[in-house]
């Protein structure tokens, strides 16, 4: 014991340098002491020493002591002190961070030791269960280090620990009980532990929620003074966010459990806020609460949940509270920005909430609608960029599926209303549209385009809007002015903004297309841009958009302008741009990373103003019409030029070629078949003819034979018999020739039979004919046989035989 103490002393600092043992040696001695000593006090002291060394000699303690420490945890669990030392030591060696002492000790160590020890420790899942069981020990010396050890383990290997806890009985329950702890440090660490534990694990999130997490957390928040509270409040809110993000089941539970009702008190601003100001912690807490609201009404959630939560938020006066913050003075910019975003998502697509928001008045003199005040900040260059983005998003949310709202905005621009104050929504947007600040142009154009989405009536109404450009000049329509402006401005951002507005306007609207085509130079501008080959710095977006606008001009063309009819425009595209180039340019947009970013979510997420190029709703429009345009051009081309393969994409093209090949093949086969059928029919015909001739000859022969027989019977000794007698051998030879011929004929017949069978296989019609023929043939054979018999008895009839021979040849 004495020796050990001196050893420890030397390690911990003040000692003579000469006979100092190395760290590894000391650790080794301590470890062996822990494992062999029979006295609890000895083991305890050794553990205490190990704990003290575990930062500086982390590698040594971890490598040699891990097993011994686990052993102590199992065997000495009744002694809180030694358990505490063990847990602390484990906590140090598995920690992710690198300690100062460690660094000066071992500089060239670049592997993460903590993570490796964590991995070793987690290999045996029982170890985690063991630590979980120490959470139930009330003694501070055990419970607190156990919580910290769990936190350390989770932060290095979250997935592994999550899986172990999920399957260990009551694992989550034990952790949840820690939130009821009245020793704050443990409770607060437990909140952090749960936050780490619930990251990206829906099952863990659900169980934690099931175990009354929201109740506990709201209790803590309330105890800590709500948003005025310290960092604990922020931690609790972050844990709640973890439980809710992308977890529909938990959001549903949060809504059904009436937890939204607990939020409004957090937004109560003290009356003396302007004096005391906003502390950084209060700002953080506030931002978290706003995040919380946004999470439950996020456009990513299921529509059912969004609607339900939006309704509740309105009914619990939370929307009112948010609107108040919006209009309060002295609110820090980032809170204001997030509040605007939150209001946006709370009203998005919900008519009641949108109406409520339209009626919120700003406390100005004279009172103006809050929307007007917000829009003024949007087109104000001096306002912070994130705030301006938030206003646009909020305005978009206000117009989303809100025909009344869309009409409200457009109406402020119509001639009948021009006498009113010059600070209406529409007028702010119009002045923004033609201002010198290209960001304002982009914002205003996008905002205006949202008044037209899926609203044909407003597209038509907005065409009536006239602008007085300069004194005395003819008023010019808004669309015309936009088209002219497009040709003259040089800023890409402004151009894209205007073009997105035009695209939204001209889609599904032949009237708008007509007006646009009538603007001098507009088509030439689009053609020139689309056919341009050089591009730098997102120029391809511009070219793609020009192509898209051209496509819309073809698609929604009512042929009312002769020069720019559907057909003419298609030909223009084909001749000046080329279908290939055109399609390439058009498709280019949706392949662009800017498109991918914008199409991801309705909210405008840009860190810098230069990133604002495309916008969510426009991306949706493009996606839905891209294919239609290409198809329409293909159809037009087909009408004038025949089949087009260029209008198809690669896959379709391949498919088409495949089919063509197939058809060609089948055509060839069909022709071959036809040919063989013709041949067979021809053969059949010849055979038939031959048979008929043979039949005729046979009949003749029979007749003559009968005649000759009769003559012989009448005058057997006629002198004229001479030639017959002379001819008699000839007759005989003729007969044999005839027989031979008959044989040949028979052979031929059988051949014909075979062929007939083949024909039967090939064609049914033919089969019948052949069967017919067959039977005839058989008859004939019979007769021939009969005839053969009779002829053998007969010696005369020279003519007939020679005739028959002739016929057979």
């Amino acid at each position: 014991m004495e020796y050990f103490r001196s050893g420890l002393k030397s390690v911990l600092g003040s000692s003579t340098p000469g006979n100092q043992p190395t760290g590894a040696e000391i650790v080794e001695r301590l470890v062996s002491r822990v494992s062999t000593s029979t006295l609890l006090e000895d083991r305890r002291d050794a553990c205490r020493a190990l704990k003290a060394l575990s930062k500086k000699y982390r590698l040594e303690v971890g490598a040699q002591g891990l097993d011994v420490l686990k052993q102590v945890l199992e065997l000495d669990r009744s002694d809180c002190e030694i358990i505490g030392y063990c847990l602390d030591t484990l906590c140090n060696i598995t920690s992710k961070e690198t300690f100062e002492e460690e660094n000066e000790n071992n500089i060239n160590m670049n592997v993460n030791v903590g993570e490796q020890f964590t991995e070793m420790f987690l290999k045996n899942t029982d170890n985690v269960t063991l630590i979980l069981s120490f959470l139930e020990e009330y003694d501070f010396r055990v419970r607190w280090p156990a919580v910290r050890l769990m936190t350390s383990l989770v932060s290095s290997k979250p997935k592994d620990v999550q899986d172990i806890i999920l399957v260990s009985p009551m694992g989550v329950s034990k952790l949840m009980d820690l939130l009821l702890e009245n020793r704050e440090v443990i409770r607060n660490d437990a909140v952090l532990l749960l936050t780490n534990l619930t990251k990206s694990n829906a099952n863990m999130q659900k169980i934690v929620a099931f175990e009354n997490a929201f109740d506990r957390l709201f209790d803590i928040i309330k105890d800590e003074g709500r948003t005025d509270g310290g960092i604990v409040v922020e931690d609790c809110l972050l844990l709640m966010l973890n439980l809710l993000k992308n977890n529909n089941s938990n959001i549903n539970f949060f809504h059904e459990g009436a937890y939204l009702q607990k939020i409004p008190p957090m937004f109560e601003l003290p009356s003396n806020l302007e004096e005391i100001g906003w502390s950084p912690q209060k700002i953080s807490n506030f931002l978290c609460v706003l995040q919380l609201i946004r999470t439950v009404v996020s456009p990513n959630n299921s529509a059912q949940i969004i609607t339900a939560c939006q309704k509740t938020i309105r009914n619990t006066n939370l929307l009112e509270a948010l609107s108040n913050i919006l209009m309060a003075s002295g609110v820090p910019a980032d809170i204001l920005t997030e509040t605007i975003n939150a209001v946006g998502e709370v009203i998005r697509g919900n008519l009641t909430n949108q109406e409520y928001f339209a009626n919120v008045l700003a406390p100005s003199n004279p009172p103006r609608p809050a929307i007007v005040v917000l829009l003024m900040s949007m087109v104000n260059e001096k306002q912070p960029f994130p705030l301006r983005c938030a206003v646009l998003y909020c305005f978009e949310c206000f117009l989303f599926k809100n025909e009344i709202g869309q009409e409200l905005v457009v109406q402020t621009l119509l001639p009948s209303n021009s006498g009113m104050s010059n600070l209406s929504m529409g007028q702010i947007l119009c002045s923004g549209l033609f201002s010198n600040d290209h960001l304002s142009i982009w914002f205003s154009a996008v905002a205006l385009s949202h008044c037209l989405i899926e609203n044909p009536a407003q597209k038509e109404q907005l065409l009536r809007v006239l602008l007085a450009t300069s004194l005395g000049a003819q008023p010019i329509s808004l669309l015309q002015q936009s088209a002219v402006f497009l040709q003259h401005t040089s800023k890409l951002q402004a151009k894209l903004g205007i073009m997105m507005l035009l695209a939204q306007w001209m889609s599904y609207s032949p009237e708008a297309v007509r007006v646009f085509l009538n603007v001098p130079g507009s088509m030439a501008f689009l053609t020139a841009q689309t056919s341009a080959s050089e591009f730098d710095n997102n120029e391809e977006l511009l070219q793609g958009l020009c192509a898209f606008l051209m496509g819309l001009c073809v698609l929604y063309n009512d042929n009312s302008i002769q020069n720019y009819s559907k057909e003419n425009l298609s030909q223009l595209i084909e001749k000046r741009v080329g279908i290939d180039t055109y399609c390439k340019k058009l498709v280019e947009i949706s392949r662009h990373e800017v498109y991918a970013k914008a199409a991801k979510q309705p909210q405008i997420k840009a860190k810098h103003s230069s990133e604002l190029l495309l916008e969510f709703e426009f991306c949706k429009l493009l996606k839905s019409l891209e294919g239609v345009i290409i198809q329409a051009l293909g159809v037009q081309r087909e009408l004038s030029n025949g089949m087009s393969e260029l209008s198809l994409n690669e896959h379709e093209n391949a498919l088409l070629l495949q089919y063509k090949e197939l058809i060609r093949d089948q055509d060839k086969k069909l022709q071959d078949m036809q040919k063989s059928i013709n041949n067979l029919q021809k053969i059949n015909h010849t055979l038939e003819a031959q048979m008929k001739e043979l039949q005729d000859t046979n009949t003749q022969l029979t007749d003559q034979n009968t005649l000759l027989k009769a003559q012989l019977a009448v005058n057997p000794s006629v002198v004229t018999n001479g030639p017959i007698q002379v001819d008699s051998p000839v007759q005989h030879s003729n007969e044999s020739v005839l027989l031979e011929k008959i044989k040949i004929l028979e052979q031929e017949k059988s051949e014909a039979e075979n062929e007939l069978n083949r024909v039967r296989k090939d064609q049914d019609d033919l089969l019948e004919l052949m069967t017919d023929q067959d039977s005839k043939l058989n008859n004939f054979k019979q007769r021939l046989r009969e005839l053969g018999e009779t002829i053998e008895d007969d010696d005369s009839d020279v003519e007939n035989n020679s005739e028959g021979a002739e016929n057979e040849s």
Partner: protein
Amino acid sequence: MSYAYLFKYIIIGDTGVGKSCLLLQFTDKRFQPVHDLTIGVEFGARMITIDSKQIKLQIWDTAGQEAFRSITRSYYRGAAGALLVYDITRRETFNHLTTWLDDARQHSNSNMVIMLIGNKSDLESRREVKKEEGEAFAREHGLVFMETSAKTAANVEEAFINTAKEIYEKIQEGVFDINNEANGIKIGPQHSPTNPSLPGSGSSGGSQGSGCC
């Protein structure tokens, strides 16, 4: 919105017996013949009235697949009621009831009310488990029994409400410690307990209590 009591339920039983459909029929009054496999656990809620008191039911519909068994076990302890469901057209789902019951009894608090449910009673022609068998099983293990059809909605309301009634009676009898939220019962906001300081002390006592077992 306000309620006198809040009860937490879980629905358990083999995969494909119609647990999610029962919940959907009860909360949304609709039937969805093709349902995705439940992953882990899904939540649903509805308000009912018993003894002219508003009672909020929070229901966790668990995944029946074996792979999720260990996860769903975590929900037993905090539930006041459980619907144990089998499919009357599949004998094996009935045969597994003992396993489910053992699991539930082992991990839940002893007062949890368990309702045995034979679902798909509309498929009489394909029935494999007689109603009497269900009744006998329920009698033997001290459960309440009912045959339901999530498709036709027959007995679905009753199943959930009768379970709630049972829990409600147990509360009246004082069997449940209503101040311990770990039992799956919560008192509504306007029904705050007679002694306002009770819930805090009661629940911290609960945590210590759980420490010993």
